[in-house]
């Protein structure tokens, strides 16, 4: 099997794994595991109050925007690095 087919199969498998929860659970709201851990702390240690707050109080929209910014920033650097690496000579050519 050539490598492009393998990559395509890998990506398809990954997409299926990502899509399954949406299909199986429909309109379910997926709570973050960090929030669930906070609930668990509340059960184990009743009345626990966090003793520090995040330095920036940001809205949900702003948080979404910053997460997107992080992904875009990361993807740009990742793309740049992959471009630089694949422009180098291949090992077997040497």
């Amino acid at each position: 099997m050539n490598s492009k087919v393998k990559v395509a199969l890998g990506v398809i498998a990954a997409l299926i794994i990502i899509a399954v929860p949406f299909i199986v659970l429909g309109g379910h709201e997926f709570a973050g595991t960090d929030d669930q851990a906070v609930e668990m702390i509340g059960t184990l240690s009743k009345g626990y109050e966090p003793w520090a707050d995040s330095p920036l109080e940001i809205s949900d929209e702003a948080e979404g925007l910053f997460f997107t910014l992080q992904a875009v920033l990361g993807a740009s650097i990742l793309g740049f690095c992959l471009g630089r690496i694949t422009s180098k000579p291949k090992l077997e050519d040497k």
Binding site: L44, A52, D53, F67, I77, K88
Partner: protein, 252 residues
């Protein structure tokens, strides 16, 4: 190679930090959110990660001296962690979480430099995204960028020694690195909040039930993408004179 002076400094730092970390725990025998770890534990984990950060810095310095492309690989590994940890994905368990992205860098550069990447990414998320936290930074670096990195590296080297195919070694290293990260997060929380009836182990089991099941499909997805990137770049001449395996196994 690290110089004798650097080695001895890092060794002393390890001993000191563990001693200090233990001394703060006199009576109490994803990422953890800001303020959700008691102060003593925040200090302990914060101190424990210091020698790992120093070791990571030294190793990175040596690698950049020995291989002109090491910084490029470091940037690639950091960018990968940035992308992967920004993508919250739903899981069939009904909750959502994100993968860590640490394994790729641990395999390419060895585990030590990943502590620096963990510091950069987790600081960014704690300050700008209100995700994780400054007070829980040490605990989160320890679980993701230290345990996650060393597990990835250990599994990869072990499987390579067992002559497993490269893709399988990378996939399992990534998968187990993810699981180990969240098992460590569960342990950190279990130690801090032992269950009234079943103690630390009972609490550990409860926190693992929150994190681990959700993480399985995400760890598989990250494994697939890490294999694709790894297989894509391993044939290029960027690993210095010693080659890929030697870069990762190099005892500097």
């Amino acid at each position: 190679m690290l110089s004798k002076k650097q080695k001895s400094f890092v060794q002393k730092l390890f001993v000191l930090s563990f001693a200090f970390a233990l001394s703060t725990q006199t009576t109490n025998a994803m990422h953890i959110m800001e303020g959700f770890l008691p102060k003593g534990w925040c200090i302990s984990w914060g101190i424990i990660v210091i020698p790992f950060l120093v070791l990571g810095y030294f190793k990175l310095k040596v690698q950049t001296k020995e291989n002109p492309n090491a910084l490029l690989l470091f940037a690639l590994a950091a960018a990968y962690v940035f992308v992967v940890s920004a993508l919250k994905m739903p899981s069939v368990s009904g909750s959502s979480s994100h993968a860590t992205g640490i394994a790729l860098g641990a395999i390419l550069l060895g585990p030590a430099p990943m502590s620096i990447i963990g510091l950069i990414v987790l600081l960014f998320q704690a300050i700008l995204l209100a995700h994780g936290g400054l007070t829980t930074l040490g605990a989160n670096i320890f679980s993701m960028a230290i345990v996650g990195a060393f597990v990835a590296y250990g599994v990869y080297i072990l499987l390579k020694k067992m002559k497993a195919p490269g893709w399988l070694a990378v996939f399992l290293a990534t998968f187990l690195s993810n699981m180990a990260t969240y098992a460590t997060t569960s342990l950190e929380l279990g130690l801090a909040y032992p269950d009234g009836a079943s103690g630390v182990f009972g609490a550990l089991a409860k926190f693992m039930s929150v994190f681990m099941v959700s993480q399985v499909p995400l760890a598989i997805v990250e494994g697939i993408f890490t294999v694709i990137i790894f297989e894509g770049i391993k044939k290029y001449d960027v690993f210095g004179k010693k080659g890929l395996k030697e870069v990762a196994t190099n005892e500097q």
